[in-house]
Symmetry: C2
Amino acid sequence: MKDIQRKKIDFSRINAVAQGILIGLIAGTIVSVFRLLISHGLLLVQWYFRQANHHVWLLGVWILISVLLTLLIGRWIKQTPEIKGSGIPQVEGQLMGEVEYQWWPVLWKKFFGGVLAIGSGLFLGREGPSIQLGATVGQGFAASRKISGNKRRILIASGASAGLSAAFNAPIASSLFILEEVYHNFSTMVWITALASAIAADFVSTFFFGLTPVLHITYVHALPLAQYGWLILLGLLLGLFGRLYQLVVLRVSSWYHKFKWLPDQYNSLIAFLLLIPVGLFLPQILGGGNQLIVSIGGQAPGIIVLLIVFVVRFVYSMMAYGTGLPGGIFLPILTLGAVLGALFGQILVAMHLASANLVPIFTITAMAGYFAGISKAPFTSILLITEMVGTLHHLMPLAVVSLIAYLTVDVLGGTPVYAAMLENSLHKAHQGSSLPVTQLEFPVFENAIMDGKQIRDIEWPDGTLLVEIKRGERVIVPHGDTVIHLGDTLLLNVPQSKLSHIRHKMKNLTGE
Amino acid sequence: MKDIQRKKIDFSRINAVAQGILIGLIAGTIVSVFRLLISHGLLLVQWYFRQANHHVWLLGVWILISVLLTLLIGRWIKQTPEIKGSGIPQVEGQLMGEVEYQWWPVLWKKFFGGVLAIGSGLFLGREGPSIQLGATVGQGFAASRKISGNKRRILIASGASAGLSAAFNAPIASSLFILEEVYHNFSTMVWITALASAIAADFVSTFFFGLTPVLHITYVHALPLAQYGWLILLGLLLGLFGRLYQLVVLRVSSWYHKFKWLPDQYNSLIAFLLLIPVGLFLPQILGGGNQLIVSIGGQAPGIIVLLIVFVVRFVYSMMAYGTGLPGGIFLPILTLGAVLGALFGQILVAMHLASANLVPIFTITAMAGYFAGISKAPFTSILLITEMVGTLHHLMPLAVVSLIAYLTVDVLGGTPVYAAMLENSLHKAHQGSSLPVTQLEFPVFENAIMDGKQIRDIEWPDGTLLVEIKRGERVIVPHGDTVIHLGDTLLLNVPQSKLSHIRHKMKNLTGE
């Protein structure tokens, strides 16, 4: 009996891995083609603007193309708003059970919308869309096999990790990103399936793009321990700029909203038109930024140039993201980080505080630090940059900078940017769906308002019901006079429609 | 109000990180000294046996030393049985709330016991003991500050990750190991604290031992995609041998038990005495195995030599572990894996199926695969070997071999070895403590016996109480006639004293 039992289990796990691999192969192929089209699109646009320097009438054609692109993608955005932006918040919402959408329209509209928007030279990244493309492949697979519930979630997560893996050739960090930032959980089944999927996708994309890491920066020096002080300062600065980035990026789409004469879905027209001066004068900095990172890593430009690049890329990447075009902020963030790091290094060099051969280390670590702060996923950042740059020499500096940038953003009150974007979009949707009640757990922290209070004296959010209190190993059935203690975990029934509102209120009460 | 709230939170997270760093520095120092003493002890023993080849009377002295060591460490083991063996199961049990012990006696006895046992040349590893040393530092820190509950758990976990990090100079993989294999959880607070602690410990150990990776194998070739077929075969073989390892290692201490004339705590006498022939004829393979791995990685010996080394190390490492001496199996497993990989490579070379310059890749990937299979922590394995070897070139081969070895062990019914060891030791202890009732969740899987049955028809394990059923987003209050469905999650009240027994029974019922 027991033996039969066992054999069945084994097949279920192998089965999951096999499904993961299949999804990885499909997602890997789709994302590789996506990536290929984008990089060719970018080369075409750069060539186009070089020509336009000599033939001014080409700018007229660009304006025409801008209008057409805006109308086309704007229509898709209007029909299928889930394709907007990065895609990571949508996948996150889907895995948390807060968002639900049809997979097929999202898949093809995100694909073509992403190719057009990102390949146009706008400062958008391919990684968020790749994650969403992968996730919809997983979702479609689940739909075709009528798989639902937890198993479906695993397939969606696997697809997401495959998508990122194919976009960046970083299978380990990709699986981890999905677990750390998107899935928020950690079970062997998810772990293994996501990893298998990511590896399969990486194989496919290796066939397309070869074995060279995406951000290959050849640099073999290790940072002397005596120089680690600078990393702390760098981490602090990245944290500050990271928080600034968060503040702007979460507001920028509402600024567009002020152009009353332009329907929201056509905001991209502004971005396309404003791209013209950059295309004419700085064509080499167009796009997500991977080429730029590699070139800065190889030979950092002077301070003034770096400053200009930073300001232009900061403003333009916000502008591009704010339009709602299907494109991500991941790679643009890494690019900004690299520019900041190089700037930091060049300033130290100019002040004779560090030698010039250390600049690439600051460039590399700043990428990780900036992303760690903004996304608040430090572990993933470290591994991701390690895999993308392709060397382990910088693991310790990466870890130090990432940790400090993360803590700095945390002190400044920053929350993980993708979760904040999700919350934003849920607020906007005013979802009043009639989904059934769900249960959430809230730990009571040291600084909780409710610590030491009786249940009847606490202002619970509307519509919630306290089901039970876990205290250490015990479970307490709550009464009006039960006193809440620090360290308790509260289990609440919460109406699905008010999820984010209640989460927010409970955060205040429990002091998280 | 909200602002004040926020500021408090920030300090709590920074506070945790600061505590993590402090624990990391202390644990890093202790483990570095531990490591230093062991490596000097090993050199001394190797020198001693070389002398004994010329002066046979030295063997008499060795026997005398063996008796003294056996009596001394045996006494410690008797007084403080928690210092036995690897230490990882104990830490795991502590974090799961199933084991509790005094930190100070464990700290100093494990330290000196470990130095004597591992430094003697027995085939034991330093990493498990390092984890436990680190964990007791965290525990001691918590005791001195009167920190309890979840916060104490975080400090213990941080110490554990610091210990491993200092033992292997692998901060990233160490934090991950603690989360994947020991803590089984994944909250930002633990994550960050463990990482900070691991980094601090790595800094300290870098001061002691320099920046060179522990298993530095210089090898820059990447495996051609066409050769990946061999990796699948290698993964399968490693899975088979891994399962064999599990079967033996979980039984070996009971075999010792059959020597009725020798009290259990003095079993080590046998191991010390049987070490003599190895010391005389193969002194270079003594110890945990890191030197051996580096030498095989540089230049693999012939097939016959590798076969002999494998058999000797397999038998002797079992023998050493079975004595209950304070020493781990982690590094010995890696060593066996490296030998198997080199053997696999050399056989392929002899059969003209692969070129000789690929042997190091098989050696490196087999380490990861063997450990991934036995510990069932594939993700950690991949990162650990990557960090320990110090190059990213092998990430994909590592991932493929680890995943396949993991799945093979899984199909063969193997469970994670450290968890199995913990269960073993809990069975032995026949713990009948009066700890209060705890709650456990059991998902109902596809192949569950209980799927489709009414609650009253199911043979629940004695002493359990089904508290609620989670079905999708709903929570059902169970009655006798409620039918259990695939996909449900059951919440059970379970008496602490029967935890592992009930877990086992429920596994059969729910089909996990």
